[in-house]
Amino acid sequence: PWSRGRGGSGAAAAAAGTGGLLLSLSETEQQRYSELFSRCCPPPEAAAGGSSVGELFRASQLPPDTLHQITEVCGAKRVGYFGPAQFYIALKLIAAAQSGFPVRIESIKNELPLPRFMALKNDTEVRYGTPAEFHGVKFQVPHATLEKNSYKRTDEGDKQEAKSPPMSPICSPPASPSTYQRIPLSYGYGKARSGLEQQHGAPYEVRHCTHQQDGPSSGNYGAKSALPCSTPNRSLSVEREQQDSSTQYSDDPWRITEEQRDYYINQFRSLQPDLNAFISGSVAKNFFTKSKLPIPELSHIWELSDVDCDGELTLAEFCAAFHLVVARKNGYQLPETLPETLLPDYLQAACLKPVRDCALFDSYSEPLQGSQQSRDLSRTEKPSAGEVPDNSALLQDAKKDDKQALKVSTTLKTIPKEFQHLTLKTAAQEPNALRARPRSRSYSSTSIEDAMKKGEEPPTPPPRPQKSHSRASSLDLNKIFQQNTQAVRSGWLPPPPPALPPRPSVSQTEQPSEAELHPQMNRPPSQAEENSSAKKEVVLAQPPSKPARRKLRTEAQGLDTPELSPTINVTSSLPAVKPHLPVQKQSSKQKRAIQTAIRKNKEANAVLARLNSELQQQLKEVHKERIALETQLEQLRPVTVL
């Protein structure tokens, strides 16, 4: 009743205020405008508070100059305040502008939809018709399907909020997923965005209900996202206004729909073709910076989504981060903690599994990926007896290749199932990054000088992809891994390399353990090599950090192969690893494969041995320099310290 009264008077005032311009407000418009007006000026005053009006206008997502124009046209500038008349006219002008009409008095004579405002607050306590606080009714991000019910929706939304806070704060639940569906469909970071930011007129048509239904080119949707971009201050002001915690979010806004997921995955692919690998921090940073969200928000999004805190994003983490960005752009406030539906575990289980299964990747070796893709990586079955030794040998060959650009591409075809198994497992586990992942950083001894001196790698980087074993199924792998780690640390045993006749007999767990062991043991020499200098290939290994490192490791591992006979290798490795490996028969095929592998490994070994010696030499030199510098420093130090 109160609002209606105001509406009535407002309309009359509008008519009077504009000096004869008769604003005919429809019933719904009256209602809406009066409601908005009451929100802008809580106590029954004549004029709306400037700041709240400003916020409301900014929430309309119109560019600032349009808003200025509107302010001028509606007469607020002239009279110096936003009276009801001016306010209503302004609202009507906003509606007009949003519909693509120019900001003119004439345009408001038309039949216009209600003006749309971005969600200003995510306050589920907003009650319908509570003028006391300016909560900025949560106007849904405009959508074609929702447009008709825009005003009705807010009513419903409010009432629903009153009834059931868990429901989507913005509007009826069915609407919100569709929201998300639309938005990312053509989210178009980058070119589309920058291009669209220039257009102001055209994009607004997108938001008009009649046009929208679908079919709009990606450009239009990009416009939608561009609109938030073009008003970064709005988002900041929105952030300021939003006080409420995120706990009121229902699952809906944070649930990723199929379309969204596909979109995210495509985006992931564009950054990183290997779906099971990571997106590095800098790449992700550039990508998300394009969304034009402020850096602190992006930082917070990263914190939320990088669950294992390794500075990189797996596919699941990336999807979560992207989803958060999308949500933020649409006005949702960022939650304090990652919503359940965005947890990598959940995402992994829910949707990424099919992707992963067909992805067939070795999470470690990016270069390997191409060849591995062609293969059919079935998950962690016990490899056939014959394949295993081939596989390990071939794998090492493969790694060698990638690293040093040798041939042996054919050997890649028969990918070591064991390694596949291993990497698949790790791939599975990576996205399931646990918050409580084991902290393998040992602070007391992981200084860089440490690593350099001792040539022992800090524990963190190589195990990183495997750190996040959170699946129960991977528990044994975890244990084995750590066992191997310790075995390696205690003594650097020569790795059981390619030709391992007994290997085929090994059970699942044993195979990964061996594979793990190889890399583990190779890490120290590889680390020494890597750290000692900016040697070309070695350093090349560095940037693809983890994948390359593993390759390097296995290559270094290959180093030792010729020195020891296979049997010795086997036996020496056996004590290190779990005692397993009962000897088993081999088919002749296996033997042949093993022999080829041995030959190839020997070649690789020779090369690596040379490389190794060179690097060792460099390492020594660097050490000498370092000692010299340190002595100098010590001599200087007494002088500086008082």
């Binding site: 921090g281 800098s282 992700a284 940073k285 850096i295 602190p296 992006l298 930082s299 917070h300 990263w302 914190e303 990088d306 805190c309 390794d310 500075g311 304090e336 902290r439 950083r441 602070y443 007391s444 001894s445 992981t446 200084s447 860089i448 000088e449 440490d450 001196k453 340190e630 010590e634 130090r637 310290v641």
Partner: protein, 139 residues
Amino acid sequence: MAVCIAVIAKENYPLYIRSVPTENELKFHYTVHTSLDVVDEKISAMGKALVDQRELYLGLLYPTEDYKVYGYVTNSKVKFVMVVDSSNTALRDNEIRSMFRKLHNSYTDIMCNPFYNPGDRIHSRAFDTMVNSMMMQVC
């Protein structure tokens, strides 16, 4: 339970400083600042030996009648300083060490965030939460 926790950058400016009784903040700021001298002293005292042999945990820097100050320095010369109420006698060295370890872990997590530029002030909410959990609960 700490009364004040500070993260000091290598160049000895604060990256993060938070104290519990907010009215006495200035006093804690000053305390932390003066404790930096002690930290440097400890670092240089061990400086004869090679850096990597240095313990990260510096232990009690200096006690006053009201509180004790503990220090911890990372390998990149980022210092954590913790001021603890003296009346809290139950707080043992181990606990202090574990608190520093948690701090260090959280700090490393922040570093992993590509949007964080080393040398900026720390605004991470996760870090705040962790620090809050370590601070003295003021009734």
